[in-house]
């Protein structure tokens, strides 16, 4: 009788990708995880799981940045959509990051390592849970549940989109509830995007680690994209040696997360000590405050940023942002100064604002026509895409017609 394998082969299926050994190597040549990293067993009713525990002392620095026990600032809480009135004591926060079997998502992707960090009296304590075999996932998740049971806040980097939903799926598959469903979530990624959109080329954790914290990983680290294959190789061969690098990688992710958390909390104090920050940082923090509807603080930060002469590429944007807030407070003189300065460098938005100001506020239609015409003239030499240019052009022409009408038939 022909085997399924032979039949599949003759149907054109390439089975076995060549580089894989047909059978796992004999037991004695294996290096189980216990012999590679120094860890312990957690005994749960659903079985045992393996974990590693380390303490990073209170004076530890990740690059330039110390990791100190600083409670999340009110602004950070508000930005994460959390009620700032609830006190998020640092003792309630757990920092989490997972290593997974893939990045594509879906119910076939699982976490095989979960790093959990939190501040204790002796320093920052890091626990890394490790899944020795996918068949032991229930125990692994039960152990996770025990480790995070006492925390109310989970702090992650992109955990809202990735780690937490993934763990939720794993819990559903094992028919129990994810502990994170009930916890408040502080995800630093959205804030990091806002803060470093202009200042840095990348907002990936690894990039922020280098550019913001001033930290470089050692050669022990392995790129995140190689992580799944290292785990699969371990599953096949039973040799855990290469997993050392994954433990290091995950530990650094958590430490950097804690350091970044510290750094962002400090940044949020910028309104009180503007002198220690750069023009870019002040403006970025200003945008956070503006997003949260704290226009007065935001305006102060923009003004402070402008006073520090930001790079020419961002100057116009800050001028307009500031002017926009000034307009809200009807501080027309100052707003006017911003628009005029921006328009001198050919900023069309500023010209339109000036036209609006003269039309609606001053009812000086001739001046408004002048600015509309200036905007139209500048449009051709602007870097807009043709679709946007056409839209803006048609809007401006509309405005121009209306202004001419208004000028000839004054109310």
């Amino acid at each position: 009788m022909e085997s399924v394998s032979d039949k599949l082969k003759s149907l054109g299926v390439a089975l076995g990708s060549g580089h894989l050994p047909k059978t796992p190597p004999p037991r004695e040549s294996r290096h189980p995880i216990e012999t590679i990293v120094d860890g312990q067993e957690d005994v749960t009713p659903l079985g045992n799981t393996f974990y590693v525990r380390n303490i990073y002392p209170a004076d530890y620095r990740q690059g330039r940045q110390p990791i100190q026990a600083v409670a999340p600032s009110e602004i950070l809480m508000r930005y994460c959509g959390l009620d700032a009135a609830i006190s998020a004591g640092l003792e309630n926060c757990v920092f989490m990051d997972t290593e997974t079997s893939g990045l594509s998502g879906g119910s076939g992707t699982f976490a095989f390592m979960i790093g959990l960090g939190h501040f204790t009296a002796e320093g920052f304590r890091l626990v890394q849970l490790f899944l020795r075999d996918p068949g032991q996932e229930a125990a692994f998740l039960a152990s996770l549940g025990r480790f995070v049971a006492d925390f109310e806040f989970v702090v992650t980097f992109n955990g809202k989109a990735f780690d937490v939903p993934l763990l939720r799926a794993r819990h559903i598959l094992n028919t129990f509830e994810s502990p994170f469903q009930k916890m408040a979530h502080i995800d630093l990624l959205p804030m990091a995007r806002k803060l470093w959109r202009q200042a840095l080329p990348s907002r990936a954790l690894l990039a922020l680690e280098q550019d913001v914290l001033g930290f470089s990983r050692t050669l022990d680290d392995i790129p995140g994209c190689e992580v799944p294959q290292i785990y699969f190789d371990y599953l096949r061969s039973g040799d855990a040696t290469a997993l050392n690098g994954v433990f290091y990688h995950n530990a650094m992710d958590i430490i950097s997360l804690a350091a970044l958390f510290n750094h962002i909390n400090q940044l949020m104090c910028a309104p009180y000590v503007p002198e220690v920050y750069t023009a870019l940082e002040l403006a970025a923090v200003g945008r956070i405050y503006e997003d949260l509807g704290m226009a007065d603080v935001a305006l102060a930060l923009y003004q402070a940023s402008l006073a520090k002469k930001p790079p020419a590429t961002y100057l116009q944007e800050y001028l307009l942002r500031g002017a926009n807030l000034l307009k809200r407070y009807a501080r027309w003189e100052e707003a006017l100064a911003h628009w005029l300065e921006a328009s001198r460098s050919g900023n069309i938005a500023a010209m339109i604002e000036l036209a609006k100001y003269h039309e609606h506020h001053r009812r000086d239609y001739s001046e408004a026509i002048k600015w509309t015409q200036t905007a139209l003239d500048s449009l051709c030499c602007n870097g807009f895409s043709s679709a946007i240019r056409n839209q803006v052009m048609s809007d401006l022409q509309h405005r121009l017609e209306r202004l001419h009408r208004k000028r000839t038939q004054p109310r």
């Binding site: 085997s3 599949l8 149907l11 990708s17 894989l20 998502g105 799926a169």
Partner: protein
């Protein structure tokens, strides 16, 4: 014109069988129905209600516009109203149909229920905006989608559907006859995955299916549901008097059997319908034809331009909705369409339907013709036949179109290649436990395949379970439209970039998308510029030519395993597994309308191997002997031209009056002179009678040689016939089947053999069914060959004459007479 109407069938009006609304129908539904003007049900709707409410899995098989949707909507909505958590999943084959049904459902459910019991039907497909998806997953209780979306988006992310799946009660599958062959075999496996995942959440599903009329609704529905299913086929809807006319365009070239084109004849008929202001739908097979006909009509009917429209995929949705409304409100009189209007879209009924050529299946013909008829008014459907063999067969045998359909929808869910892919997807979705089967696939087979995947590293076995262990999202790599382990992507150049318009199996690439091939996609023609087999990619460009292409291939078939065989005195029929080696050697261009040959082009492509399922017929030596004795096989009935006597003499002298096969010298009687390439394959006698093409043979060797030539042509004619008739029985495209014939085939132990095989690795069930329909198929073939009016083979019977290996109507008929003689006995 009247003489071209070869059949006129009148179906008497049919009164509705009314039934009262069920007593237990929830009152909000009664209100909703009355708002739609419904206060009673047709018989089949009531039966469907009873059966579905009793928990039966059902398939409803009734005519177009017989109110099939109510058959599932009533029991589903009733359950959803009674159980505040219950959910249902609807699958439709097209997005357009999904939208149409969604609109209908919204009308029905509009204000039903309290905020807690609201049903909120929602479409979840590729067009659903990302920001609406979460809400649908968490809240919708009735989700409308399609098989591809279920396969790639819902099942692999089933944990996001925990709520929906935990409470899933119904899966409704509309138009199941569409799911046949490869697509159907895939869907059967997607449904296995759905049931497996639902089962994980503690839900068990009830299937409600609908189908157009096919020969095997129960079998097909049961293969999809893997449960026994109740068939509801007593149509209780009313119908007006229906006239079905068969129109065969006049013959313009008798010898070659060429008729006037169906398109130009149809245009004449449409003129009459326009003059009499009869609202009509005209179904054409290709988008190109739609545009062609539309252009012609608009140019001649300037003053009525507004009332004549085209409709096909590629039109914007708003445009389509406007045409649909125009039809319902009778603002539009004539619509030329592709099959885009065939499935379900609500346009009410029209007065007349015109089918320009056979749509490819009886089910589609009936669905299209079923669009005629408004309430109880009389209606008309006209089938205008093209010159193809199926069209020509059907105009002579309208009973196929009018009576019980012979077409079977066939799938093979256990095709190993398809099964393998869905086991990968299923393992990704949920780990397999030891001893777990997959639908009707037994646990040992599942385990064997999973162990193989363990060998490739995709599966890890631990704690008695099989876990997916690869950084791959398997569903993304499985297309429900193809079967091959190695698909070739078809990329069309659109402006500056390449867009993937589809894929073909590696096994089919050489003959389907060889350089120069015309590839049809959604009715548009593309020409293949390059085929890169190594990188599995073909580059195509949009074109506008009036021909299609047909690959020439050399085939060799080797038997791997006989699965069943039946031996008769004259011949043997077998169904088994074979390996087909195909070498595409060239292609020819054939004119769309007439199938006229526009030229041959050579190709150099590598040979392809494919393992598949086949059905073949081999003549026995007794059969051969009988043919040899039949007069029609021998004798020179043709005049070989003016120089024949002289050339004959020269050949014998050259060959020293000796038979060039057995070496016997002439004694008394002169030896024969034989054409190496048959005389009729040449355009003129001087070419045919060149000395290089002639050879001296003794009478008995000559008879054997002649026999081989005739056998070759008879077998080729038989192959052509069977290949073109088979889709009538097994509902497939002719390209889904491969055909090959040979006078001395290894398959039949060096006897003359014709083989038909599934053109997909592993097979999709076509050949097996043909094997069982052997007698019927051969009788149909014999009749068609007998009744054709051509001289010696034409596109409508045994293939165009005058080419090597085809034509040969007389020889084909001799073989068919021989084989069919056994059925009578």
């Amino acid at each position: 014109m009247a003489e071209n109407i070869v059949g006129w069938h009148t179906e008497p009006p049919r009164a509705a069988q009314w039934e009262p609304l069920p007593e237990r129908l929830p009152s909000p539904l009664i209100t909703a129905l009355s708002r739609l003007g419904i206060d009673r049900l047709y018989g089949h709707q009531r039966v469907a209600w009873e059966q579905a409410r009793a928990g039966q899995d059902v398939v409803i098989v009734t005519a177009t516009a017989s109110g099939k949707t109510l058959c599932y909507n009533l029991p589903v909505l009733a359950t959803l109203l009674e159980a505040a958590n219950a959910t249902a999943l609807y699958l439709f084959p097209t997005k357009a149909l999904t939208q149409d049904q969604h609109t209908l459902l919204e009308k029905m459910t509009g204000d039903i229920g309290t905020p807690n019991t609201r049903i909120a039907p929602a479409v979840y497909d590729g067009d659903t905006p990302a920001n609406k998806r979460v809400g649908i997953r968490n809240r919708a209780r009735l989700v409308l989608t399609n098989p591809d979306m279920l396969h790639t988006a819902i099942l692999p992310h089933h944990t996001q559907w925990q709520n929906f799946l935990s409470n899933l009660r119904f899966v409704v599958i509309d138009e199941i006859h569409v799911y046949r062959g490869v697509f159907g075999s895939h869907l059967a496996n997607v449904l296995r995955r759905l049931r497996r995942v639902a089962n994980f959440y503690g839900a068990s599903l009830q299937h409600i299916m609908t189908s157009a009329t096919i020969a095997n609704p129960r079998q097909h529905a049961e293969r999809l549901a893997e449960k026994s299913v109740v068939v509801i086929d007593q149509d209780g809807s009313p119908g007006g008097e229906r006239h079905f006319l068969l129109y065969n365009p006049p013959i313009v070239q008798a010898e070659l059997g060429i008729r006037r084109s169906a398109i130009s004849e149809s245009l004449r008929l449409i003129d009459d319908l326009i003059i009499h202001d009869v609202q009509s739908l005209v179904f054409a097979r290709a988008r190109r034809t739609v545009e062609l006909m539309l252009k012609d009509l608009l140019s001649r009917w300037q003053e009525r331009r507004e009332r004549i429209r085209g409709y096909r995929s590629g039109y914007l949705p708003v445009e389509r909705r406007r045409i649909e409304a125009g039809l319902r409100q009778a603002k539009i009189c004539t619509v030329i369409t592709t099959n885009a209007l065939e499935l379900g879209i609500d346009i009410g009924g029209v007065d007349a339907i015109l089918l320009v050529g056979y749509p490819g299946s009886i089910a589609a013909t009936r669905q299209q013709a079923g669009r005629a008829g408004r309430r109880e008014n009389a209606s008309l459907a006209v089938f205008v036949a093209s010159g193809g063999p199926l069209d020509q067969y059907l105009v002579r045998h309208p009973e196929f179109l009018l009576e019980k359909s012979p077409e079977q929808a066939l799938i093979n869910p256990d095709n190993l290649l398809i099964l393998l892919k869905h086991l990968q997807c299923a393992a990704f979705e949920l780990p397999f436990s030891k001893g777990e089967g997959f639908g009707s696939t037994s646990a040992p087979v599942v385990e064997e395949i999973l162990s193989l995947l363990e060998g490739t590293g995709e599966i890890h076995q631990g704690n008695g379970r099989f876990f997916w262990s690869a950084d791959v999202y398997p569903a993304a790599q499985v297309s429900l439209r193809s079967i091959s382990a190695q698909p070739v992507l078809l990329q069309a150049q659109v402006e500056d970039s390449f867009v993937t318009i589809g894929s073909v199996d590696r096994e089919s690439a050489c003959w389907m998308v060889h350089p120069g091939a015309i590839y049809l996609h959604e009715g548009s023609s593309f020409v293949v510029e390059t085929l890169d087999l190594e990188n599995r990619r073909a580059e195509l460009t949009l074109t506008d030519v009036d021909y299609f292409t047909e690959a020439r291939q050399r085939v060799d078939a080797e038997c791997l395993q006989i699965l069943s065989r039946q031996e008769e005195r004259m011949g043997t029929r077998v169904f088994g597994e074979i390996r087909v080696t195909t070498q595409v050697t060239g292609y020819r261009r054939l004119r769309w309308l007439t199938q006229e040959n526009m030229g041959e082009f050579p190709l150099e492509l590598p040979a392809t191997n494919m393992r598949t399922i086949a059905y073949w017929i081999s003549l026995s030596s007794a059969g051969l002997e009988q043919l040899r004795q039949t007069g029609s096989w021998c004798g020179e009935s043709v005049s070989y031209g003016k120089n024949w006597t002289r050339q004959k003499e020269l050949t014998r002298r050259r060959d020293e009056y000796t038979c060039q096969v057995c070496g016997r010298k002439e004694v008394k009687q002169a030896h024969h002179v034989h054409h190496k390439l048959p005389f009729r394959t040449f355009d003129d006698y001087e070419q045919a009678n060149q000395l290089e093409n002639l050879v001296t043979l003794c009478p008995s060797c000559h008879q054997r040689a002649e026999m081989t030539v005739r056998m070759r042509s008879g077998l080729a004619g038989l192959g052509y016939l069977l290949h073109h008739l088979a889709p009538l029985l097994v509902m497939c495209d002719p390209n889904d089947l491969g055909v090959w014939s040979e006078p001395q085939s290894a398959l039949g132990g060096a006897t003359p053999t014709v083989v038909l095989y599934d053109n997909y690795p592993g097979g999709v069930g076509l050949s097996e069914s043909l094997y069982h329909a052997h007698e019927r198929l051969l009788n149909q073939a014999k009749e068609l060959a007998q009744n054709c009016t051509c001289m010696d083979g034409c596109p409508a019977c045994t293939g165009p004459a005058g080419e090597l290996g085809s034509g040969g109507r007389q020889e084909t008929l001799a073989i068919l007479n021989l084989l069919c003689s056994e059925f009578a006995a």
